[in-house]
Symmetry: none
Subunit: 206 residues, 4 copies
């Protein structure tokens, strides 16, 4: 390849980006990925099989996604459409419980296992980890942060509270149970977590 070709290619990929990417191949790939995920589970999937089922060349997948996890995550995310937004009724405890319960239900469903597998896969796949952070973790925390900030502004939360830590305390237990299989995820647990987080474990010393 000549120097000029190279330059052109670089420019076009960054700037012009005609993006001859064929939408039909993208769709077929994601559909196949989702179908295989639901049928066989994350571990049993391979890029080879996704390509075969999608009627798409392997190269086409490697061209547009950095790893198996990235394909599967995109497919699952597109399908999952878990609500990000909070109802803000003013009843802090109720609104939080609604939100936490909603995620808990997803985690308890078959798709919960797939999320777990993806988080698991991300431990050895930086691209997937990146995608997960960007398209799952950060948006969720952003909305939660806004919600809690409003509650704080209304004086419903301790004024000295670090909201990042608050989010950790409320949501981390769901991920813990999802990934450690210590005990099942259910609505009672979700509600109890919100309750304990808001009230605190310690007796009131004042």
């Amino acid at each position: 390849m000549s120097r000029q070709d190279e330059t052109y290619r670089l420019l076009s990929s960054l700037v012009l980006r005609p993006s001859r990417r064929r939408e039909s191949s993208r769709r077929a790939t994601l559909d196949a990925a989702l179908a295989l995920l639901r049928a066989d589970g994350y571990g049993a999937m391979t890029i080879e099989r996704i390509a075969a089922r999608a009627g798409v060349g392997k190269q086409t997948i490697y061209r547009w996604w950095p790893s198996k996890g990235a394909v599967v995550f995109e497919a699952l995310l597109e399908d999952l459409r878990v609500s990000l937004t909070f109802d803000d009724t003013g009843d802090l405890r109720a609104d939080l419980t609604t939100q936490v319960t909603s995620l808990s239900r997803v985690f308890a469903s078959p798709d919960g296992r797939h999320m777990a597998a993806l988080i698991g896969g991300a431990q050895g796949d930086p691209d997937l980890a990146q995608a997960l952070l960007e398209h799952w973790v950060r948006p969720r925390r952003r909305y939660a942060m806004a919600f809690l900030q409003q509650a704080k502004d209304r004086g419903q939360l301790r004024p000295d509270l670090d909201l990042e830590v608050g989010i950790d305390i409320i949501w981390a237990p769901l991920y813990y149970r999802l990934l450690l299989h210590y005990a099942p995820l259910d609505e009672a647990h979700a509600a109890a977590v919100v309750d304990a987080a808001l009230t605190g474990l310690a007796v009131r010393s004042d």
Copy 2:
């Protein structure tokens, strides 16, 4: 052979079972696994390489461990020796902070990445998941439970508190940060989590 002999033979083969497992092979395998883990990371390891480095037949590994993850976990656990026990000075907040900080330090160290990889691997490896639950999660929670129960008995915790939920709220954030890579694990975070969990997020309504 007499009937009695036969019975004896059967019993001895089932019950006494001298288990001719050779300790030297076990040691070599675990040492090799640990060395490779530290050198290349969990993802880059293979049973083949563990066997080669240990100077052990692959079959010998497959004979005694159900999966790569199980070998690595046993090796890491043996080496880690993270303290399980709590100092119980009576100062609940201080004791919890000490304990949580200690685990946080492990998670922040290189071995934290290995623990993350193992928890990740457990999502697709039931044997590893089982081992993790049995030899990591449950013992830790058992000690934490005893500790919190004593605090509760002393009247330091809310009498209506579900201690399982309490443990979740205190420790889950560490696993969350370990696995989701949202933000680094450090001592300040550990202390803030303990603090928020004990005090609660909400303003005191009374």
Copy 3:
């Protein structure tokens, strides 16, 4: 995809089949097989080692040959190029002796051991047996048959003779000595066999 397209696709895959087999891999495989055969002998060879020496993936070998024996036989046959054709000088005894001696020399050479190993291997490898029959036994017998038929037409052979049996009697002793290691193969033996076969063992009763 239209119905016609589908039909075309099916037909082209079955009939046209461009066979994208890469000649360079075929060559490297056969060369490596021959080199290993000559160096270590048939028994000590493995598909693994052929692949390694050829710089070829194992799968590529398994894709195109049904067994180790089939690869080795193809390699040896390509290299051996034993003459099939007969000089037909009209002197039946001399021509046969020339031909039998020629094969006897091959059998007495190092390649003879390899042929023996291949015939041995064919006893438990139907694919190799098939290849041996198709590319060694049958062509040889076809030429021998044509030669003997001409001699018979010229009145040099008994008119009631079953030529298949005639071929057996002349050539089988070479295979017998090759495989049973009863006594060495040499030119004197080859000539004696031709002589005895033509003349017969019995005294002439007329």
Copy 4:
């Protein structure tokens, strides 16, 4: 071990040789070998399986036989008991035909495939080759030689005939057909071979 001990040991092993070999183990091994040969064929057998079926330690087999082939050959030979002796009625052609047909029948039976497998195995197993030569080939040829010598003495065979070559010509075709699978072995073929060998292929030139 002292020098004297060593000497004693050597002597006793060579001379006294109490041979504590347990006949029951030998029997069980050979029976198991034969059963597996008949059930699965030579290629599918392993020393491991023979030992397991015989209820015998692998070491015991390795102690007394040099290779799988040697065990199987001993087992088959013990069971086969093909007649070695010739009826000598004076009718040379008839007696030979009887004998050749008898071996042809064995080769055409399932045990023929096993003999073929053993001859095949002998190509890569010197111990088996040795056993085959000693206990199959040589005894057979010895008897044939004696028989043909008598015929020669009676003036039924050409006085200048090399009897080794004569034996080759008569019996080799059976081995050829057994091992090359060119055409089936049947009684007609056996008779035709004897006939052609005795009479010769060529027209009588005198």
